[in-house]
């Protein structure tokens, strides 16, 4: 067996005193010198441990670029991203895979489950890649599946599950490693409202119970209203921010709708 398969767990030691995510003056420019497009134009934000944050913004506002940069899938043009104290720009290319596996969790719009694996195997994937002992893997998978209400479909294949179940399995896969930060890209985008609500409630419950930090990019005001903070992005900058505080979800939803309406108004006025 090649030596790289022997390596277990990560060499990254998270600094528990630092914020989970700290971004300052982030820019990302696409295109050549002649026709540059500024996807991000100086974004700064901080996410504390155990927070549940939504990023909203119209198409082309730069929110997906921001998420890709945080996810270490894309590299920013300037500015810094620190995840639990580690500057992601300083991680070597070979260390990035390791970093993603141990520090980050991903939830995508289409669940991106592997068709040939059962739900149990899909959830276990990040752990097997990290060579966690088998007993521990199976225990963690059962545990997370139970808290997301999908323990009964663990031996099914993706094609045998409903869209909602698939998305919750994807959630379980993102959370099973207990990552510093869970990044969710339109997690409810392909779900009906009932399943979307079910997913968000589970996510909120886990956020509360496990102090999991979640950063979610969404179009959906309902999804955003489940979060504690909502950041609005526009033209590559943080345009405004809402904090839920002691608001009920209903009240918070109304506030979000107002901002979105204002944004839409600005768009229409142009």
């Amino acid at each position: 067996m090649p030596h790289h398969l022997k390596r277990t767990r990560s060499s990254f030691v998270p600094d528990n005193n630092s914020p989970v995510l700290e971004i300052s003056a982030l820019t990302k420019v696409y295109g050549g010198k002649n026709a540059p497009t500024k996807a991000l134009n100086g974004v700064s934000l901080t996410v504390q441990r155990g927070d549940l944050v939504a990023i909203m913004g119209p198409s082309g506002s730069g929110k997906s670029t921001l998420l890709n940069c945080i996810a270490t899938i894309d590299t920013p043009t300037s500015g810094t991203i620190r995840i639990a104290g580690t500057d992601t720009a300083r991680i070597s290319r070979s260390g990035l895979a390791d970093f993603r596996r141990t520090q980050l969790g991903f939830i995508f719009q289409d669940s991106n489950l592997l068709d040939t694996l059962t739900a149990r195997e899909n959830i276990a994937l990040p752990l097997t890649i990290g060579h966690v002992p088998v007993d521990q893997i199976l225990k963690s998978v059962e545990g997370i599946a139970r808290s997301l209400g999908v323990a009964d479909v663990l031996d099914k294949y993706p094609y045998q599950m409903s869209g909602g179940q698939r998305q919750r399995i994807a959630c379980a896969r993102a959370l099973v490693t207990r990552p510093q930060l869970v990044l969710a890209d339109e997690p409810t985008g392909s779900l009906d409202s009932k399943n979307a609500k079910l997913l968000l409630e589970s996510l909120e419950a886990i956020n509360r119970a496990q102090k999991a930090t979640v950063l979610m990019v969404t179009h959906d005001e309902t999804a955003a209203s489940f979060c504690r903070r909502v950041l609005f992005i526009r033209d590559g900058k943080v345009f405004t921010e809402l904090v839920r505080g002691s608001d009920t979800r209903r009240e918070f939803f109304e506030k979000i709708m107002q901002i979105v309406a204002v944004q839409g108004g600005v768009d229409n006025a142009r």
Binding site: P2, L5, S64, L127, I129, Y157
Partner: protein, 691 residues
């Protein structure tokens, strides 16, 4: 507009499925090149040329047969590619194109593909055939006279028709595919999670075991029963054609059942190895392979069988050659032998010198000669040759070794003729009492059987006298071969006292020569003598075998067999490897997003590619391993059959076969991995979202 679309599609396809085009081109090139054999004949010496002309006709039949298989596999590959383009075809229709117009696009595409691969293939084939000419010359142990560039119209026409038909069938299948799918299915084809064909795991295990049992039973039947040599009217105890068909059906059924169960079985077994399974990408790799085999079980089984056929054709052909060539060496100890049979059975003596004088040949100046008469043992009551082996079997109670049940072994030589032959060969003469016999036999499998009979004092009646064995063992030195007969195997000749031998009926008269003159002059003298004898008396049947004849027959046959074995091997291996390659590549692009997910989950590229490599190698290796297992069994059975003619090493002949397989099959494997690597790498590195 449609043509422009078709052209664009074709270019994209050519890029994505370069393996498919490579195979079409190679197929055309090889079909053309190998069928130029009759034109190649013009460049080679007359003796080989004649054999090649004949080979040309066999090649044509073989090409039609291979074209059917190749065509079938290419149609399969095309259908496979079509299935993957459902969404694209749906899109055309959603945008308002009529089904007929889409069909026109597909037809144009197929025509362009056909035209390009045919033109490139013929050009390549023309080049290959120039080179092949020298290979052919070498294989037939001759030289190329007056080389110039050549082109065979016949080969061109044959190749053209074979491919035209293949492509016509493809077009028909394309329109069928198109007219049978509904638009909604076309459009949603890629969005669905791929349905997994998962078989019940314990059932899979049972199927695998059943498949293995069937294959094992078929192996056992073939190795114990052998081939149906009796044809449609076998002797009792011989393998019948039906027996053989049952064996064939068993191995075919076993192979398919094995492949249907195999995926589930390895999953089940590997899942039991918990530590291994739940570590790294092992579980992913296992599941990918299992899914691949499950969806393609039938085609994998078929590929295994075709590979089996190709390998067996190659190895058997070559070992037949090796064996017969060795037999030629042993069976042609003299520069020439002339063999005269008196069909009237009346002549008691034969005067070689008189005929030589008549032919104007001075035998003494041509070289050393020895002549003798071979008779056959009868008990005096009938004219039938004594069924020695049957009588020995009845006498000792041992059964005749397999394959020799019908062998005739009752020829006889007089002691003085035999001693003359021994002296001629440089051996010491032997002595014999008047009521004794000696037994000549040089077939390994028969010797111990006959020795038992000799030890127990097997007696035989001839010319009214009862003869006992002079020795307890057979004589198996090179005096067993009294004349050039190109097989070199003697099941049994009795040596008896002269006064008995004169009483026995004639079999034939033999003259052996070792030249002191040049081979050309010697052969000429032999031919003169033979013609003279043949012309002098209608009742005399005369044949000759010179070393020159034997050598030519040997190289011609080896050449022909090698030529065809290489042809069959090449075409079938290419077809099989191409199917596997296309399956693997489309599998890689289907799973591209999955690989991307793996990368995002933090799996290193190194681990991902090692999983991909395992998958590709496994897909290529599994049918090959099954094919090789079948082939070893079949080749063993062929060799057992060939033992009748004596041992010959098949290592060298099999070596060439293995080299071709490794080159072609391994080449496709390497190419497939490289391309799959490219697809997966592209998917991993591309951004998930367009901004």
């Amino acid at each position: 507009m449609l043509a422009k679309l078709a052209f664009g599609n074709m270019r994209k396809l050519m890029h994505d499925y370069a393996v498919y085009f490579l195979t079409l081109v190679m197929g055309v090139a090889i079909f053309y090149a190998f069928n130029t054999i009759s034109v190649q004949a013009d460049f080679l010496s007359n003796s080989v040329s004649e054999a090649l002309q004949q080979a040309g006709r066999i090649m044509n039949d073989l090409t039609v047969f291979l074209a059917v298989i190749m065509g079938f596999l290419m149609v399969y590959a095309n259908n496979f590619l079509m299935r993957r383009r459902k969404k694209e075809l749906g899109l055309y229709q959603v945008l308002g194109m009529r089904a007929g117009q889409v069909n026109v696009i597909l037809t144009l595409e197929t025509l362009m593909v056909a035209l390009i691969s045919f033109v490139v293939g013929i050009a390549l084939g023309a080049l290959i055939s120039q080179l092949l000419l020298f290979v052919t010359a070498d294989m037939f142990a001759t030289k190329v006279d007056n080389f110039r560039f050549f082109f065979s119209i016949d080969a061109f026409v044959l190749t053209f028709f074979c491919f035209a038909i293949t492509f016509l069938v493809m077009m028909v299948f394309n329109s069928i595919t198109l007219s049978h799918v509904r638009l909604i299915e076309l459009m949603s084809a890629s969005r669905k999670n791929e349905k997994q064909f998962v078989r019940h795991l314990p059932l899979s295990l049972a199927l695998t075991v059943l498949g293995l049992i069937l294959m094992g039973y078929a192996y056992w039947r073939l190795t114990t029963q052998g081939f149906p040599l009796g044809g449609s009217n076998p002797e009792p105890g011989q393998t019948t054609t039906n027996d053989f068909l049952v064996t064939t059906a068993l191995v075919v059924a076993g192979t398919f059942i094995f492949f249907y169960g195999f995926a589930g079985s390895i999953t089940l077994i590997l899942q039991r190895m918990k530590k291994h399974y739940w570590s790294g990408l092992h579980m992913f790799t296992t599941r990918q392979i299992a899914s691949r085999i499950n969806t393609a079980a039938a085609s994998m089984g078929l590929i295994a069988l075709i590979l089996f056929f190709a390998m067996t054709a190659m190895t058997s052909g070559m070992s037949i050659c090796a064996t017969l060539n060795k037999a030629y060496e042993e069976g042609v100890p003299f520069d020439a032998s002339i063999d005269v049979v008196d069909t009237s059975g009346e002549e008691k003596t034969f005067d070689w010198d008189a005929f030589a004088k008549k032919a104007g040949v001075d035998l003494n100046s041509v070289g050393n000669t020895v002549s003798f008469r071979i008779g056959y043992m009868t008990d005096g009551e009938g004219i039938n040759m004594i069924q020695t082996l049957q009588e020995m079997s009845a006498f000792t109670g041992k059964s005749i070794p397999q394959g020799f049940e019908q062998t005739v072994a009752g020829q006889a030589l007089s002691l003085s003729d035999y001693n003359a032959l021994r002296t001629f060969k440089g051996l010491d003469p032997v002595s014999l009492d008047k009521d004794q016999y000696l037994y000549l036999c040089n077939i390994d499998q028969l010797e111990s059987f006959v020795n038992t009979a000799l030890e127990q004092g097997f007696t035989i009646t001839a010319a009214g006298r009862t003869l006992t064995p002079a020795r307890t063992t057979v004589i198996d030195d090179n005096s067993c071969i009294p004349l050039n007969d190109s097989v070199g195997k003697t099941p049994g000749i009795y040596v008896v006292a002269d006064d008995i031998a004169t009483e026995l009926p004639n079999y034939h008269w033999v003259l052996d020569l070792n030249y002191s003159v040049s081979t050309e002059n010697g052969d000429l003298a032999v031919k003169n003598l033979q013609d003279t004898i043949a012309a002098s008396d209608d009742e005399l049947y005369v044949a000759s075998e010179t070393k020159t004849d034997a050598a030519l027959e040997g190289t011609t046959m080896t050449g022909l067999t090698s030529y065809m074995a290489i042809y069959i091997g090449f075409v079938l291996v290419i077809a099989c490897a191409a199917i596997l390659a296309i399956q693997q590549l489309s599998n890689a692009s289907d799973s591209a997003m999955g690989y991307r997910t793996l990368s995002e989950l933090g799996c290193s590229e190194k681990t991902i590619f090692s999983s991909l490599r395992t998958q590709v190698i496994f897909a290529f290796a599994l049918p090959l391993v099954v094919g090789i297992a079948h082939s070893i069994c079949a080749t063993a059975a062929v060799n057992k059959l060939l033992l009748t003619f004596g041992h010959a090493s098949i290592i060298e002949s099999v070596g060439l076969g293995i080299a071709i397989f490794t080159l072609v099959y391994g080449g496709y494997l390497a190419l497939t991995y490289r391309m799959a690597h490219g697809i997966v790498k592209g998917a991993i590195r591309s951004a998930r979202h367009a901004l």
